[in-house]
Amino acid sequence: MKILTEQIDVPGIETIDVFCKHGGYQAVEKAIKKMTPDEVTEEVKKSGLRGRGGAGFPVGMKWSFLAKPEGIPRYLVCNADESEPGTFKDHYLMWKSPHTLIEGMIVSSFALGANTSYIYVRGELMYVIHILEKAIQEAYDKGYLGKNILGSGYDLDLYVQPGGGAYICGEETALLESLEGKRGNPRIKPPFPAVKGVWQCPTVVNNVESIAATSWIINHGGDAYAAIGVGRSTGTKLISASGHIRKPGVYEIPLGITVEDFIYSDEWCGGIREGHKLKAVVAGGSSVPILSAEMILNTVDGEKRLMTYESLSDGGFATGTMLGSGGFIVMDETTCIVHNTLTFARFYHHESCGQCSPCREGTGWMDKVIYRIEHGKGRKEDIDLLVDVAKKIEGNTICPLGDAAAWPVAAAIRHFRDEFEWHIEHPELAIQPGAVYMRPGASWAQ
């Protein structure tokens, strides 16, 4: 079942003519000509669509929180800052099929009563920005954007805003600050963007994939969308699969397939690369806890883990993880968990905005300590120190980047403490290039 990527490989799908030939912009016609904004919102609510940017907050509900004071403009801002390590789905979708996002933007803006909307794309993807801008021009030319769209009286202007290279601008309030032309320092909440967003006006921020899914929901109805998936994990999800698998890439899966299927089936990842075994998976982008092979495939109750919000987080952080942004990073037995954790810790150190002290100082501290451990200079007390620093950051910061920095470190130690200990106890071995600790008896050890 594919919703967003059904036609992604059709030649010329990036042009509006081909896109329309394959059913494109029908949702715009339907929503604007036959529905009221509230009806559109209602369909999205019914669909059970949850935010695909990471937090999984129901999209329809977020829309219904939007304040609508008289005489004050409202904005929809699409979050295409995609910078979470392991995640590249939005990049793929916008690059291959820009009109899928633009159509969703029009439908969603209509539902929210926004007359100006922005797509905030990370600056590194400048070539994608050019693709989007070209596609937007086509949509203007066809009358899907601009004044009096399809003779309905509804006006919408759509612009692409480039970022400048900062992961933190994916956090929605930092994104709004950045859109205002400032440093990407997250705002202190409340007030929430739904009340005071960009330029202090009510604003909805949604991920690319969330917005793109709304056109299908309008075309086929919220119920049809809700029929896909399991429980509160409805619809399909783009998963960015990377690491030691046969076929890395972006896959659209119906939520609810098993993790095992996803990794091993030829339809998706195609299994671990030749001659190697699965060791660990980071299932939802670098921020979510890493799990060992056993834990990712099965829950503690021995049930097969599913690709859903609920099943992946089954067991809490003790044995579970999160679906997050769908950045599925697979590691085989050649992977040194300490090294991988170091690259993540370095990432958060590099990307902290530096506003609040626990994150500014704590991310740097964790990075430096793990760097020492990785380079054979670890001290016995460092492991507990890392756990404690992570704990002191978590929950005490302005924005969730603090948590996102703490979790991967805490989880790597929780599930792979022996590797950290080995690095500290055997520095001479650990610093050898390619050295990896093999846990005795583990399924990935020879």
Binding site: T116, E124, L125, E180, G181, G243, F347
Partner: protein, 164 residues
């Protein structure tokens, strides 16, 4: 070294700047700072204080506001760079795909370390974080172009091509 008065966008870029400033509500044109900084960097390769002062004057804001913004975002070069800036991704997934070895090869091939520029001023290497292309790693970016699924041989080819 350019002097102050040579720092002016060509007419067509100035038109574009005017258009960009109209994307935002009345009085909110400060929002144009990132798009304009990108244009400025494309024009002058790096954001020197003079370039940033010029951007500030276009937006009628204090220069310090531009310095603050430009130094926050990693894409803006605040030091002179070579003709081709190679920005390679150093984050986990790219490392899993053999990034470390490929980037080591790149550095050896050019004879410089990260952050340095070759003596002929052709290449600068910079380290960046995840470029949202993890499944196609290892990855680097030169200006707007992505080079993906890199190997040592591919790196050699690219460098040969750009050295011509």
């Amino acid at each position: 070294m350019e002097t102050k008065n040579t720092i002016v966008f060509p007419a067509e870029t100035l038109d574009l700047v005017q258009k960009i400033m109209k994307r935002y509500p009345e009085g909110k044109h400060k929002s144009a700072i990132l798009p304009i900084l990108h244009l400025a960097q494309a024009e002058w390769k790096w954001c020197s204080p003079e370039v940033m002062d010029y951007v500030a004057s276009l937006l009628s804001i204090a220069p310090v506001e531009v310095y603050e913004v430009a130094s926050f975002y990693t894409m803006f070069h605040l030091e002179p760079v070579g003709e081709h800036v190679i920005e390679y991704c150093r984050t986990g997934p790219c490392c899993l795909m053999g990034g470390v070895e490929v980037y080591d090869h790149l550095k050896k091939r050019l004879g410089i370390q990260t952050g340095e520029t070759t003596s002929d001023g052709k290449f600068t290497i910079k380290e960046v974080e995840c470029l949202a292309a993890c499944g196609w790693g290892p990855v680097f970016q030169i200006r707007e172009k992505f080079y993906m699924q890199l190997t040592a041989e591919k790196v050699d080819q690219i460098i040969d091509e750009l050295s011509k």
